[in-house]
C-alpha cells in the first residue's frame, strides 16, 4: 500500500497538496497537468465571469472522443451497410442506443456551447490584452474562430455517416455549394465527392475527415488554445487586478489574488466535466438521436431541413440568389460561401480593430465597447432570427407558413 501510493505520487504527484511547495510541484511534475498554471487568479475561476463555457466545450469534446472511438468499432462506412449498422446500434447492440445518443447529443451541445463561449468572450472583451505585454489574446480569439469552424465541420461530417435521407441531402447540398464557386467549383465538387456523384467515394472521404483529420486538427488547436490561456496570465479579467493595484499604487502579492491550481482549479474543472457528462447522459436517456429513412436519391424529404445550427445557412441559401438582366449568381455561392466567409474574416480581425481602452478587458458589457457589442449582438440576433424563421415558418416546398398551419405534405413519389 505504501509502495503503491509512492508510485502514484511519482506519476501524478498529488491532488491534495499539504504545502505550497507540494502544490506547485503538483503541476510542474505532472505531464498532463501542464495545461494548467501552478497558480490561478481567483477571478479566473469566477462562475459569473466566464460561466466556464470553454471547459464545458472541452468536456463535451472529451465525451465525443471516447464515445466516438467505441462507435468506430461498430460502424461500417459503406453505402450498403452504414445505415443498418446504425439501426443495429439502436436495436441490437447492448447499450448501442445509449452510445449513439451520447455521441449525437454531445455533438449538438458542443456546437451550442462553443457558440455561447464565443459570445461570452466577445461581450466580456476577453480578447483584449489589457496592457499586459506578455499576453496575446487576440491570437487566441482567432484560434477560437477556427475551433468554431472545426466544431461545425465535425458535426456536419458526423451526421452524414448514418447515410440516411438527412445525410444524403446534406451532403448533396454541401457538395453543390462547393460546385457553385466560380471557376474551380466543379473541381472542388469532384474532390469532395470523390467523383461526379454522391456515392461510396464520398462517404469514405467524409468518414476519414470525421474520425481522424478534423478531430486531430481540433485537438492540436484546442491544446494550443488552452495553453495560450495559461501563457496569457489567466483569463482576461485577471488584468483588472493589475490595473486596480496600479491605480491604488499598491504592490501585488501573489497570495492576494491567486491560489494554487491544485486543488482549486482542478476541482472546479472536474465538477464542470461531471455536470456536462450528467447532462449528456440525461438527454441520452430521455431522447433518441434522429434517424430518417435510408438514403434515396430519387426523392427528397419535403421539407428537407438541416439540423438547427445550419438552418440560418439554409435560409441564406434560399434567399440570396442575385438576378440581374446580364447574369445570375447562385445563392449557393452568395449565401453558402461569400456571406459566411465575410462573417468568418470579420471574426478573425475583430480583436485587432477593437480599439477600446484597457479598462474594458474582461468586463461584461463595458460602456466603452457599446458599438462593438451592438454590432456583434445584432449579427448574432440576425443569425438567430434566420434560424427560428427557417425552423418554424418554413413548411413543405420551403413555403412560408404559420407553424400551426402547415398544410398536408404534398404527395411524394
Amino acid at each position: 500500500m505504501e509502495k503503491l501510493s509512492e508510485w502514484w505520487k511519482k506519476l501524478t504527484w498529488t491532488f491534495a497538496p499539504s504545502s505550497k511547495v507540494e502544490a506547485t510541484k503538483a503541476v510542474t511534475k505532472n505531464f498532463i497537468l501542464h495545461w494548467f498554471p501552478a497558480r490561478v487568479t481567483y477571478r479566473s475561476m469566477s462562475w459569473s465571469y466566464s460561466w466556464w463555457l470553454g471547459t464545458v466545450s472541452f468536456s463535451l469534446f472529451l465525451i465525443l472522443t471516447i464515445t466516438g472511438i467505441i462507435l468506430m468499432f461498430l460502424y461500417i462506412p459503406s453505402v450498403e451497410r452504414a445505415y443498418w449498422t446504425i439501426k443495429d446500434l439502436q436495436h441490437a447492440v447492448s447499450f448501442g442506443w445509449f452510445l449513439r445518443n451520447m455521441h449525437r447529443w454531445a455533438a449538438h451541445l458542443m456546437v451550442f456551447f462553443v457558440t455561447l463561449h464565443m459570445v461570452r468572450v466577445f461581450f466580456t472583451g476577453a480578447f483584449k490584452n489589457g496592457g499586459n505585454p506578455d499576453a496575446n489574446r487576440p491570437v487566441n480569439w482567432a484560434v477560437g474562430m477556427f475551433l468554431l469552424v472545426f466544431t461545425l465541420l465535425l458535426s456536419y461530417t458526423g451526421y452524414l455517416l448514418p447515410w440516411d435521407q438527412l445525410a444524403l441531402w446534406a451532403i448533396t447540398i454541401g457538395a453543390n455549394i462547393a460546385k457553385s464557386v466560380p471557376v474551380m467549383g466543379s473541381y472542388l465538387h469532384f474532390l469532395l465527392a470523390g467523383g461526379t456523384r454522391i456515392d461510396q467515394n464520398t462517404l469514405i472521404r467524409f468518414y476519414a475527415l470525421h474520425v481522424i483529420v478534423l478531430p486531430a486538427l481540433l485537438l492540436v488547436l484546442v491544446s494550443y488554445h488552452m495553453w495560450r490561456v495559461r501563457k496569457d496570465g489567466g483569463l482576461a479579467v485577471s488584468e483588472q487586478y493589475k490595473m486596480q493595484a496600479k491605480k491604488e499604487g499598491k504592490r501585488l502579492v501573489p497570495d492576494d489574488y491567486t491560489t494554487f491550481a491544485i486543488p482549486a482549479l482542478i476541482r472546479r474543472a472536474f465538477l464542470v466535466f461531471l455536470i456536462s457528462l450528467g447532462a449528456v447522459m440525461l438527454l441520452s436517456i430521455i431522447s433518441n438521436a434522429p434517424l430518417e429513412e435510408p438514403a434515396d436519391p430519387s426523392w427528397t424529404p419535403n421539407p428537407a431541413k438541416a439540423p438547427w445550427y445550419f438552418l440560418w445557412l439554409q435560409e441564406l441559401l434560399a434567399i440570396t440568389t442575385i438576378r440581374t438582366p446580364w447574369f445570375t449568381i447562385n445563392g449557393g455561392f452568395v449565401g453558402g460561401v461569400v456571406i459566411p466567409g465575410i462573417l468568418f474574416l470579420w471574426g478573425l480581425i475583430v480583436p485587432f480593430i477593437d480599439k477600446s481602452p484597457n479598462e474594458a478587458t474582461g468586463v461584461w458589457f463595458h460602456p466603452s465597447r457599446r458599438l462593438q457589442n451592438w454590432t456583434f449582438g445584432i449579427i448574432m440576433l440576425i443569425l438567430a432570427f434566420l434560424t427560428i424563421f427557417a425552423m418554424y415558418f418554413r413548411g413543405p416546398s420551403w413555403n412560408i407558413y404559420w407553424p400551426w398551419a402547415w398544410p398536408p405534405i404534398p404527395h411524394l413519389f
Binding site: N176, F190, L191, T300, A304, L317, A318, W398, N399
Partner: protein, 164 residues
Amino acid sequence: MTRRKFLAYLGRFAVLFAMVGQALAMLRSIVPNVVYEPPKKFKIGYPDDFSEGITFLSKHRLFVIREGNTFWTISAVCTHLGCTVNLVTFPKPKKVKVGKKEFTEQWEFHCPCHGSKFYGEGTPFAGPAPRPLPYYPLDIAPDGQLIVDTSREVKSDFRFVLNV
C-alpha cells in the same frame, strides 16, 4: 550576400522544396483518376412503356414526357443545389407566361430544399434556382429502346419524334 549565406539559403530551400513536393504528391493521390460510376448514357425502356404525359424515372432522376409520338426529357435535379424536385400536377391546366411565350401547363416542379419552383417546361419562377431545369438529348437505340445522354444538355425546344 556571401557565398556561405547563399549556400545556407539554398540548403534550406532544397529541404523545404523536397518536403512540400512530397506533401503535394501525396495529396494528389486523393484526386481520383478513375471513377466507377454508371454510364451517363443509358437506356430507359421502350417508347410504349411510357404513357401519355409525364413519367418520373426515379432511378435516373429524370422526367420523360410523351405527346403521341413525340418524346423529350427534363432533369429532376434542381439547378440550385441538387435536390430532387417534386412533380406537382394540376387537376385543371394552368395558363402561364414565360418571357413572351404563353402556354398551358398541367404540372410544375417544386423543390423541397429551398423552395425553387419551375414551370412545366423547366423555367424557374420562384426561389433561388439560377437556371432552368436542363433537357437531355433522346434517341432510339438499335434494339428499339429510348436512350438518354445526360452528359450534354440540349435546348428546351428539343423533341424526339418516333418514326412509325
